[in-house]
Amino acid sequence: MNRNLRFVAGSALIVAAFGYLMYTAIRETSSYYLTIQEFLPRKAEYANAALRIAGRVAPGSIDYDAKTLRLRFHLTAFAEAGAAADTVAVAFTGIKPDMFAEGRDVIVEGRYADGVVQARQVLTSCPSKYEAKAAAAAPPGGGAG
């Protein structure tokens, strides 16, 4: 029994170390995952927090410089109805993803500061047939970066 107790103690130690590792890792690496509708009304609350925001690229908002790779655009709600709907500006430096275009659903990863989402990454979702059907009903799935 004594021996068993030792193993239980040893295993408990491992589990505790493991739990601590998980806890700190989650605290340091997690980010809020929001749709643009959830984000816009409460953007002040999310200032400087790590974010993933799903939204649609606002028509006519893309400004891309192929030499400096600076990409700026506005993210807007999925619904077509409110054409003049609220948007948020996004700034990104890097290669424009293949599928990136006006009206496409994207996920932007980064931080929100001074009225602009500084994106680390812009993910596009696939426009293939089966995805498109779903996108009409719900926020998009992710896509290859």
Partner: protein
């Protein structure tokens, strides 16, 4: 009658047969009516026939491009090459379920033929379990996502397979992974049978040992192929992004790895029975969970099929499997208890136990990270995601502990290792590891994680090398054979043990590849005009020109890039941008120059036609090739372990009933 009606009919008939096979087998065994057991078995065989017909009908429709079928119209086109047209069988929702069902029934049929005269007490339950799984997938195909749904008009052209899937890995990665997933069902079914019949010796483990290995073999290949595919196609310079669907493939692999090790403790010491039963139940549940993840759309992912409404069905099935299995385990708990217990931390039993704890820890980390958004939304009302840094942070230290145990497990003594035993077995390997670490440090390597990882790799490699060396020397001394012959005989007499060592060598190579490519990666982004150069590491890359290619299926823009080291030309690379016309989708084709030392990974990032400028994204990924090579070595080792030795073949021939073939092996 349209051909597809035959497919629908086959699935409906299959559904009835699966139901009957389950019912008849259970009634037969419970009421001791042998004729029902036989009848159930025959129904299960006929079920395979039905599924085969349905697959044949689907393949025929795909190959003849019968666009009246919605599935064919959705996933193929007239210009799609024939190989991908066949692969479209597993490219879509209904087809992939059908393919899964076909592999499951192929496995079940092999099981039924193998065990025609064996395991009489277990087989009715095995048949019932496998048929129940079939019944679930058939129900989806018959009632929820009809595979042979017809359009009320015949489109002249289909909407084509997703271009990201139009890659040769599409031909081998999904089948390998599905084969791995599906073959977990066989040991699971035998485990359920053992629990239900009360025959809880290690018979069910021995009789499904090769199925377990086969499953592990395919899961290993499936994961490695998946990584290779992502690396070559997605163009972000890496091979593993901790995407939910990658995780879905990785979790069963982890649990099966734990299972493969812990069953050795049961065979040897008659311990861990409850643990082993739980592991295989967990592995099976994770395969269903993985199928759920890819098809429910609950968690967004690169690979997800769609939000199809299938999710709840999978969850209910998963819940039923878990509740049923746990109830069975609870019922049999009194006879599952073991008298033996661990004696020392310094023993093989303990090493294997810790190996299991770590593998499950990694699995739990992966699971938790994958479902975290969903759970946080339940608990806190806001979705919180964890990215790759979370997985890497937790799994890297766990992985290194596991690597250490990979070296310890196979050579530490059973029960209790004496100080003398520890010195004899570990002094030299430890010295190798430490010396290697010091040399790397002297050469200028300063990253602690890399130093630890490479030292451990050397340590494990040394333990394996010493085992081979000692075994060979012992045979030379005993039988007087020359070294090469002795080595060959050594392996051929004990496939489990030496095949296992080969797998561990593969693991070492994989760890080296992961360490090199994740800690020493370089990345350069450059925008250049034709004739201009840029450099990364020791390489200079000169962008020479753009060229175009156009056919009805795809339009290609290709950049020609000359790779130089100093003034010497070492190669040419042609990264591409493609435009697939049918779905109107652009893709990026990576160009990679592979060497043992490092991969030069070149992406044609962006074109700016007005200025003629091209932006390249370039990665220098050290040691990536070692990762693929390590995967191949692991597969090779598994093949050795699976192959019966001459003695095992003789033993089996001598006892055709095969109730218990003597275990020739010491350990695997």
């Amino acid at each position: 009658m349209h051909g597809s009606d035959l497919g629908t009919l086959a699935l409906q008939l299959g559904w009835c047969l699966a139901l009957y096979a389950t019912g008849a087998s259970l009634y037969g065994v419970l009421a001791a009516r042998a004729e029902f057991v036989h009848s159930g078995r025959r129904a299960a065989l006929a079920l395979f026939g039905c599924v085969a017909v349905a697959v044949a009908v689907m393949l025929h429709a795909l190959v003849t491009r019968d666009f009246r079928l919605e599935y064919v119209a959705s996933y193929t086109s007239r210009t799609l090459p024939m190989s991908y047209t066949v692969a479209a069988l597993w490219g879509g929702m209904a087809g992939s379920l059908l393919f899964w069902l076909a592999l499951l029934n192929l496995s079940a049929t092999v099981v039924h033929v193998q065990n025609r005269d064996r395991h009489r007490a277990l087989m009715p339950y095995v048949t019932a379990t496998l048929s129940t799984i079939s019944l679930f997938f058939l129900s989806l195909l018959v009632f929820v996502v009809p595979a042979f749904e017809r359009l009320d008009f015949a489109p002249s052209e289909g909407s084509d397979l997703n271009p990201l899937l139009q890659n040769y890995w599409m031909m081998i990665h999904p089948p390998a992974l599905y084969a791995g997933y599906v073959t977990v069902s066989v040991p699971f079914a035998f485990c359920v049978a053992a629990l239900a019949s009360g025959q809880l010796g290690d018979d069910w483990i021995r009789s499904t040992r090769r199925w377990t290995l086969l499953s592990w073999f395919f899961l290993t290949l499936g994961n490695v192929f998946g990584g290779a595919w992502a690396y070559e196609v997605l163009g972000w310079g890496g091979y593993w992004a901790w995407d939910p669907v990658e995780n879905a493939a990785f979790m069963p692999w982890l649990v099966m790895t734990a299972f493969l090790h812990s069953v050795m403790i049961q065979e040897k010491k008659d311990m861990l029975k409850v643990w082993n039963v739980s592991l295989i139940i967990l592995a099976f549940a994770l395969t269903i969970f993985g199928t759920f993840l890819t098809r429910s759309g609950v968690i967004s992912s690169v690979h997800s099929f769609t939000q199809s409404g299938l999710g709840p069905f999978f969850l209910w099935f998963l819940a039923a499997v878990l509740v049923g299995a746990i109830a069975l385990v609870g019922w049999r708990l009194p006879i599952l208890r073991s008298q033996n217990q661990l004696e020392s931390f310094f023993s093989r039993e303990a090493a294997f136990l810790f190996n299991n704890l770590i593998l499950l820890g990694i699995c739990f980390t992966v699971f938790w990270g994958t479902v975290f958004p969903v759970i946080s939304e339940w608990v806190r009302g806001v979705k919180i995601t964890v990215g790759p840094p979370f997985f890497n942070k937790v799994n890297a230290p766990l992985g290194l502990c596991l690597l250490f145990l990979t070296g310890v497990g196979p050579i530490i003594a059973w029960r209790r290792a004496t100080p003398k035993n520890l010195r004899r077995n570990f002094a030299l390997p430890l010295a190798c590891g430490v010396a290697g670490g010091l040399v790397l440090f002297a050469l200028g390597m300063r990253q602690l994680a890399a130093l630890v990882s490479f030292s451990l790799c050397l340590f494990v490699a040394a333990t394996v090398a010493i085992e081979f060396y000692r075994g060979t020397r012992a045979r030379q001394a005993l039988v007087g054979e020359p070294a090469a012959t002795a080595l060959a005989h050594l392996v051929s007499k004990n496939h489990r043990r030496y095949g296992g060592y080969v797998i561990h060598l593969g693991v070492v190579l994989v760890f080296m590849g992961i360490t090199g490519s994740s800690l020493f990666k370089e990345e350069v982004q450059a925008t250049v005009a034709p004739g201009q150069s840029f450099s990364i590491g020791a390489y200079t890359l000169r962008f020479d020109r753009l060229s175009e290619d156009d056919d009805p299926h795809v339009a290609i823009t290709r950049a020609e890039v000359t790779v130089l080291r100093g003034d010497r030309v070492v190669g040419l690379l042609w990264p591409e941008k493609r435009f697939y016309k049918r779905p109107g989708q652009p893709t990026t084709e990576v160009a990679i120059r592979k060497t043992l030392r490092e991969d030069l990974y070149l992406v044609l990032g962006a074109l700016d036609p007005p200025s003629g400028l091209v932006t390249f994204q370039t990665f220098l990924n050290p040691l990536v090739t070692w990762l693929w090579f390590g995967g191949a070595v692991m597969a090779l080792g598994t093949a050795v372990v699976m192959t019966p030795t001459a003695a095992e073949r003789r033993a089996r021939a001598a006892s055709p009933a095969g109730e218990r073939s003597p275990s020739v092996a010491e350990e695997g």
